[in-house]
Symmetry: C2
């Protein structure tokens, strides 16, 4: 997995080859089994993750039912800023949908790394702005779309998810019951 | 309005009094009349704003109807990172719901300010993380709530909005028709 990490870090032209190797050597990478709970509702997360390989699901309980609110896959950051930066109790769980290889970040170590590699602060800031933009877009998209539109968008943007996560979790993520999702699918495939 | 700006900047203990005055002197503040369009769909925004006083609405057109997706009020940043940081065309409009006094930020000037006041980069990063956390929470909340729950939350979190923005814009923001919003209100006030 060090290769994935090296490849990812190599894309930043601000870094010299030496820095790339050194940074990769200093970043903790861990493998987690499918089903591992990385964070629990109510815990204060001083850690965050970055997916090198695998899939992490975010969910919380509503009347004992799991409501899925995110799937994180390759090259996505798994961070809950309210919990990570502001140290508020987490409002959700993170659980591995597959065996997953993740970069494990922590608040203290992040600061240490910025001291050691000052360029990293600017790089992660740019990445955060990119991620923030995506979350803003996701919010706007969710606010202004129907479940069928959301399903079509997911099918286009992240088709792999359908093979990786169980149907009922995807239905929950789209804001519909598994039965409604089946109906939407039928409707779309009949139209085709 | 310089007072509002000074008061806001003064809350950061990392800054000396001298820095606070100097930064406030160097930040451009502008007044915009109610109805001013600050950004149009399709434009690439190299500017962003911060509300010192007033209210800015974010919306886009769906079949010629305005779909409201955000209201920004005092001490909120008005930034669309996909457009600002990645220079993609904006997917929405920003328009002043009231006469508004705004800090006007631009990409180049931001970098210039960081060079002049290096502490500012860390401060704005922390603010961005806070904001990012709120956007993440808003997405999760929107995904897992009914229009009635959203209405109740808005009533608790931002009661002022109801006196500041027209009813139909608030209905759009909550994802319901103005008629449904009236029904929800009646239901709630009868229950009380």
């Amino acid at each position: 997995m060090e290769n994935e990490l090296l490849r990812y870090i190599s894309q930043f032209p601000a870094l010299t080859e030496e820095e790339i190797t050194e940074i990769a050597d200093n970043i903790p990478v861990q493998t987690f089994k499918k089903g591992t709970i990385l964070l629990k509702e109510g815990d204060t997360a001083d850690i965050c993750f970055f997916v090198l390989k695998g899939c992490v699901r975010q969910y919380h309980l509503v009347d004992d039912e799991e409501k899925t609110t995110a799937f994180f896959t390759e090259e996505q950051a798994v961070v809950s800023f309210a919990s990570y930066s502001q140290q508020l109790p987490s409002k959700h769980y993170w659980s591995c949908v597959e065996d997953s290889v993740l970069v494990v970040g922590s608040l203290n170590y992040e600061q240490e790394m910025y001291q050691k590699f000052p360029k990293l602060a600017a790089i992660t800031r740019a990445l955060m702005e990119q991620d923030f933009g995506k979350t803003q877009s996701a919010l706007v998209a969710f606010m202004s779309s129907s479940p069928e539109e959301r399903y079509r968008k997911l099918l286009t943007d992240r088709p792999d998810l359908f093979g990786r996560a169980p149907q009922h979790q995807i239905a929950s993520y789209l804001g519909v019951t598994p039965e409604s999702l089946s109906r939407i699918r039928k409707r779309i495939f009949v139209k085709k």
